[in-house]
Amino acid sequence: MIETDILIIGAGPTGLFTVFEAGLLKLKCHLIDALAQPGGQLAEIYPKKPIYDIPGFPEISAQGLTDNLLEQIKPFQPGFTLGERAEKLEITPENHFVVTTNKGTVHKAKVIAIAGGLGSFEPRKPTTISNLSYYEEKGVAYMIKEPESLRNKKVVLAGGGDSALDWSIALADIASELTLIHRRKEFRGALDSVEKVRKLRDQGKINLITPAEVEKLNGNGKLESIIVQTKDEENKEIEIATDYFIPLFGLSPKLGPLADWGLEIEKNAIKVDNALDYQTNIPGIYAIGDINTYPGKLKLILCGFHEATLMCQSAYNRIYPNKKYVLKYTTVGGITGFDGSRKQAPKAVVEAI
């Protein structure tokens, strides 16, 4: 069991900055995120987009902000449970919280900060293939966790974004036969990935079928072949024998199991007390950043940072009800990391001239 002071659900910008504010108060944090990497939407949806409204940064890329936040919180040694979704909540007799993920990892904390943004990102499943769900776990997957499990297998990927391109490149030398299907001729991804896929196609390592769509899956008890309909002038049906079909159509956020935790929810967001500390209707559980709602709420990263800061003060009071905390500016107190590191303003030297 992982034990910590504040369990943060969601490793987006708000969740990450919470580690910093908590660290100044000597509170330890652990983060859970359904995505495989920290950064939330910033890293998953728009890593290269510039952001212009982060105070002090006239322009910073979404990935750049994520990287900076990770650097800023490093001294406070946050723990991460990545690629897992917070699923079950239990409250212990002493009012601590036990959160279990979909993969069975158990976390115990004195306070929970839900910084879940729009919810956890789940793969988008194509709705046009009628028997798709029948073949789930029988050859159909929406994520590739262990590429090695596809070695010497016949694999069909579908999609036109970065993940479809990146996986095509990664699997070209692993799969025995690799096919990439996309509805359009154009791909939406980094230019060098598109170029690499083109080269692999020319070398015969990828069977590229565009514009086309997967219509139907076949197989007795497990996936054996797929039917592809081309969308060009020929407009023909092709049957491709395959062991795996992996549609990579990006991710969409779902509030998911959080909705069943007994929290007060309004329009897909968690209601909090914004007059005080962003606490939810369950004492000890806070909701900060895009996932919360209150009168006048703005879904901005900078508002999430503010909410995280006030929330940490309240969490401190909850964890140490008898201690009085006095705010200390980092310019005065510096930063003492849990790793023993120390950052401090250099002492000015007074010398007579």
């Binding site: 728009y46 709705t127 036109g160 990006g250 969409s252 956020p253």
Partner: protein, 106 residues
């Protein structure tokens, strides 16, 4: 006043007649959200999700979709020839009388 009157048909088939301001740089997605219509607008308007997909039902001539919008529509579900992303449709005076239907949720 520089409002235009537009019609948005929700997923239950109910038509909402809405006065949309043309002087605030709003997109159709933002108008839907402002009127509490069930449009998520997950990506905030970057044409990077398709939660604001609509079918254009009036014969207004809309600005051509950008490469980003076309690429997103190529990956979206329930796409029809008259599909557009609401976040890419600006509220401008010439769209008086615009009529759109919200695409199904994914």
């Amino acid at each position: 006043m520089s409002d235009i009157q537009i019609t948005i048909i929700d997923r239950q088939g109910t038509a909402h007649s809405i006065a949309a301001p043309t002087d605030m740089g709003m997109s159709l997605m933002e108008v839907c959200k402002a009127y509490d219509l069930p449009v998520l607008g997950t990506c905030g308007g970057m044409a990077m999700c398709a939660t604001c997909q609509v079918y254009i039902e009036s014969d207004h001539v809309l600005p051509n979709p950008s490469d980003d919008e076309e690429a997103m529509l190529a990956e979206a579900f329930h796409v029809k020839p008259n599909s557009r992303l609401g976040c890419q449709i600006p509220m401008e005076p010439q769209f008086e009388g615009l009529k759109v239907r919200l695409a199904p949720e994914e």
